[in-house]
Amino acid sequence: MNCYEVSELLPAYVLGALEPDEVKLIEVHLDQGQEHDEELVELRATVFALDRFAEESSLAAPVASTKPKKGLIATFPGSRGLTLASPWRLAGAMALVLLLMTSVWLVVGRNNSNHGARNVSVVIQGQRGEMLGLNGLESEATVSVVMQGLERLPQGRLYQIWAVRDGVWLKIGACNTDAQGWWKGDFPFKARSGEQIALTIEPVGGGSSPTSAPILISTS
């Protein structure tokens, strides 16, 4: 392995994202000289900083708010606990559906190669009007999420959105709602049609599987 190849792999090396045989090759090379020391110091410092300060919610890209008027609670056909209690609720639901459809339209519009791509669209409604909407295309590496009516969590807790794929829980992203119980943003995640979407409350930096029962989960 030459210096260039080692430099290419150093970020993965410090994150522990290499196979054991690659780690061995890198360490043999590093033991031969000090030319990578500066690079390594910076990378190790970055990993230490990630360990101490990184918030997974920073990976979500919040979208400029197009929040519906306060008090509108969305309900959707096909979701759990469906109750179209008033025309206002129906109006709120329609507003959010339009919002989600706009997100998908924008995604499709960005990339003409997406013609015919399958749309993944899930809306989950809780019994008290809380709502999670997720939209994306199977061909895209991002999903748009809207949350409404979910109480802002105290410091140290985040809402974690999951996809349940073949029985395996995959993290989509974590976020917290604002004081009005609202959040909208994009997460880097490739959704597939047919998988369940779930929402749990987790400690910041939570593990690779849920630590609590879902507060919202779509039907399979």
Binding site: S7, E8, L9, L10, P11, A12, V14, L15, G16, A17, L18, E19, D37, L40, V41, E42, L43, R44, A45, T46, V47, F48, A49, L50, D51, R52, F53, A54, E55, E56, S58, L59, A61, A141, T142, Q155, G156, R157, K171, G173, D186, P188, F189, K190, P203, V204, G205, G206, G207, S208, T211
Partner: protein, 180 residues
């Protein structure tokens, strides 16, 4: 504000549950040893319990305080271990590179405050292009290796490597206050 409330109810246990995974990961990276990492985390929480009424949060976050104490305890444990095992060739416990990296981070933290450093890093994470954010999420937060990421994302291995390298370079730059 004091952290004395930590002694009430299940506050300390809740805090432990919040930071456990990251604390063990941090301590393991510093000590290079799983058992020493557990010792460091345990010592840190014992210290938090004992000194709760003397710890000032100064507007900082409790998780950050806990991680800072874990960080310091892990370094202390590594140094103690090194001193007590001077006759055993085990220089990997606190590698000089790690020592320099920790010093570098401490210098930045002193210059811009803990909150400043937290803000720099998280802003830089948010500002990464989506394709780089995805790779950081999978490699760091989901602890996947490059090959697994390439398979899952259906990307060539070289693309995954270069995206991770670019992302880490931007994050490193952000810590030093350089814009990418």
């Amino acid at each position: 504000m004091l952290a004395a409330g930590l002694r009430e109810n299940d506050s300390l246990r809740d805090l432990y549950l919040q930071v456990e995974r990251r604390a063990l990961s941090l301590a393991r990276r510093i000590t290079g040893d799983g058992a020493l990492a557990e010792d460091a985390v345990q010592e840190a929480f014992t210290q938090l319990w004992e000194q709760a009424d003397r710890i000032s949060l100064d507007g900082g976050r409790l998780e950050s305080l806990a991680m800072t104490i874990v960080h310091r305890r892990a370094i202390d444990i590594s140094r103690r271990k090194q001193r007590s095992e001077l006759t055993i060739p085990d220089g990997d416990l606190l590698h000089p590179i790690d020592e320099r990296a920790l010093n570098m981070l401490e210098q930045v933290e002193e210059a811009v405050t803990t909150e400043g450093l937290r803000s720099r890093l998280n802003s830089a994470l948010s500002a990464l292009p989506l394709e780089q954010r995805t790779i950081v999420k999978l490699a760091y937060f989901d602890e996947m290796n490059l090959r697994e990421i390439a398979e899952q994302e259906r990307l060539p291995l070289g693309t995954v490597k270069s995206r991770l390298r670019l992302a880490m370079s931007k994050l490193s730059g952000s810590i030093r206050g350089k814009t990418a």
